[in-house]
């Protein structure tokens, strides 16, 4: 039967590709371990497939062949991601401190793969069943060597933290109530966009048809909440360097419509300002105004109503998120930028030398952004390279020095 033969050939080709990738120069073992885990799964599937024959139950056969195809479709992008983790364009020096941060947030078993994406949006593969302890973080390829954008990894780590610590379950009921209350507060509008429903406000949570109407708003609100949570985690861990990196990457906004699963861009920036005020992080005045909002997506009247409900529900949670992130990360003893270290690092950068004795590597990144914004820096020195190039080199070297100092202080 051709179906069986094709399925086997596809798996063999995939396995062959893994074996080839295993010969790459991996700077860190977790990339190899990720490949190993995928290899085992493909071999397991192949072994099972080879026990099947044309006499097997056709439905079962079809189902399994389809499942193996799903496996390849899901994991081919991860193979590419792992391969790109070997590319020397990446900021390898940041690996060790980011792994330390991942373990601080997610536990000592956390594994990390840092890679680059041929996609402009920083990306993380979440809670993959085959790679349960892995955090996979990709920065856009054109920026993956840009040390100043390392803070964006804080947002991606936030996604892992959100799922690992089950914040969705923790906040779900309250968010649902918030959505319901938002609808009740705008009842005439609700009745207008759902004219056939004819329910009372008390039935909103019990009538099955009514539940269906607001579930999408609750789902959007929860996704928005996750994104806001990740932004706030990034700000908490990396201070103003996160806000600068975020602005560098996406301000004022990219073309196209807004996605309902993200808060609009200006609000994300305003939420960062709010969190910054709470965390004593100083942002430039008018930070949020460097961003513009995306146009709303083309939605039906119902969709528009639900999106506005989702927006108001998620917005009402921001203060709680700010507190939750602080409580959670403080509880995990997550390192934060230290003003004294930032000042000292800036002094070293002025001399064109790497920072030293920074206990928090985020201090280096904050100092890096300050140095970038200091127009007078190195003006009086003849340079063969641009300020950006020199700064990138010094920041990455500073991060390596941080790793060395950590190793020296912890290794007996």
């Amino acid at each position: 039967m051709l179906m069986l033969e094709y399925a086997e050939k596809r798996l063999v080709a995939f396995l062959h590709q893994i074996e080839q990738l295993e010969q790459s120069d991996f700077p860190y073992c977790h990339s190899e371990e990720a490949l190993g885990a995928l290899e085992q799964e493909v071999k397991r599937n192949l072994q099972y497939l080879r026990q099947l024959s044309d006499d097997s139950n056709p439905k079962a056969l079809q189902g399994f062949c389809s499942e193996t195809l799903g496996l390849l479709m899901n994991y081919l992008p991860i193979l590419g991601f792992v391969l790109r983790s070997t590319n020397v364009r990446n900021a390898f020096e940041a690996y060790s401190p980011l792994l330390g941060l991942a373990r601080c947030l997610l536990g000592p078993e956390a594994k990390l793969v840092i890679s680059s994406e041929w996609d402009y949006t920083p990306h993380t593969f979440l809670q993959d069943p085959l790679l349960p302890r892995f955090v996979l973080i990709g920065l856009p390829a054109s920026e993956s060597g840009n040390a100043l954008l390392i803070p964006l990894a804080g947002h991606e780590l936030g996604h892992s933290l959100w799922h690992n610590d089950r914040f969705e379950a923790l906040l779900g009921d309250d968010l649902k109530n918030c959505v319901l209350n938002a609808i009740k507060a705008r009842w005439p509008e609700y009745e207008k966009v759902y004219p056939d429903l004819r329910i009372t406000q008390t039935e909103l949570d019990t009538d099955l048809f009514a539940v269906r109407t607001w579930q999408k708003a609750a789902a959007w609100a929860m996704k928005q909440l996750e994104e806001s949570f990740c932004d706030i985690v990034g700000l908490f861990l990396f201070g103003d360097s996160y806000a600068h990196a975020f602005a560098y990457l996406v301000s004022p906004a990219w073309p196209g419509d807004r996605s309902p699963v993200y808060p609009n861009l200006h609000r994300r920036a305003a939420d960062l300002e709010r969190a910054a005020a709470k965390y004593d992080v100083r942002l430039q005045s008018g930070y949020a105004d460097t961003f513009t909002d995306f146009p709303d997506p083309s939605l039906t009247d119902q969709g528009k109503f639900l999106l506005s409900v989702a927006d108001s529900a998620s917005a009402s949670f921001i203060d709680r998120l700010i507190e939750t992130v602080e409580l959670t990360l403080t509880g995990k003893s997550a390192p934060r930028p230290i003003p004294r270290e930032i000042t000292e690092a800036r002094g070293r950068f002025k001399l064109e030398v790497p920072a030293r004795q920074c206990t928090a590597f985020a201090s280096i990144l904050c100092a890096g952004w300050e140095a970038l914004h200091d127009e007078a820096l190195w003006k009086d020195l003849p340079q063969a390279q641009s300020k950006d190039e020199i700064l990138r080199e010094i920041i990455l070297k500073s991060i390596e020095v941080h790793e060395i100092e950590q190793l020296m202080s912890t290794t007996p």
């Binding site: 020397v88 001399l351 030293r356 063969a384 390279q385 080199e393 010094i394 070297k397 060395i404």
Partner: protein
């Protein structure tokens, strides 16, 4: 005058003072530097290496000033060897390495880099272009060549070379060590340019 280890240690201890310090980062063990009694300071091997892309490079020559220089990415391939892993340098092979330490020289200091004898006796030649000029800042590119008969495993973090320092009369406001090798954490091939003098010699009267 070549600085002795105590003088080097003294300057390094003052690296956070003044506008023109001698800096070596990661900071060496000052007591060990002082106690060594030598006239140099050991430097360690860094994590970045550069090899030539031999299959696509027919020759290396000086850059034609009328042509854009071929990029380093076209001529070379970078390798990153993290701490704990090793780089195997085979007999007859040449690779650019880098010091782990980022150096900053004062305006009245110059230096030169030499190999360590223990490596040299195993066939590893460390540096041939050895001068470090006043005002230089960055990691030092090393030209590593295995002149021996057996492969050598080298590991980031190991002591690979030594830096001798000597005083020079500073030139007012002139920093000569600030060329294209300045402020780098990775090895750099650089560009060999023909100057006006050589250009005239290359075009004799017909």
């Amino acid at each position: 005058m070549i600085l002795n280890s105590s003088q080097i240690a003294h300057l390094l201890e003052a690296q956070d003072e003044g506008a023109d310090p001698l800096v070596i980062t990661p900071f060496p063990n000052i007591e060990k530097v002082r106690a060594s009694g030598s006239a140099s300071i050991d430097l360690r091997l860094g994590c970045w290496f550069v090899t030539l892309r031999r299959p696509r490079t027919s020759e290396l020559t000086f850059a034609d000033p009328t042509e854009p220089s071929p990029s380093e990415a076209r001529l070379t391939k970078k390798h990153y060897i993290p701490f704990g892993k090793k780089f195997v340098l085979h007999p007859g092979c040449f690779v650019l390495g880098i010091t782990l330490e980022w150096i900053r020289l004062k305006r009245n200091l110059a230096g030169y880099v030499t190999g360590r004898s223990s490596w040299g006796r195993r066939g590893l030649v460390i540096a041939t272009a050895i001068g470090v000029h006043p005002g230089f800042t960055g990691c030092l590119t090393l030209e590593l060549s295995n002149m021996g008969e057996v492969p050598l495993k080298i590991q980031p973090g190991t002591r690979i070379c030594q830096l001798f320092l000597h005083e020079v009369e500073p030139q007012a406001d002139q920093l000569v060590g600030r060329g294209s090798f300045n402020a780098k954490r990775q090895p750099v091939l650089g560009i060999v340019r023909v100057d006006e003098f050589a250009e005239k010699l290359a075009n004799p009267l017909a």
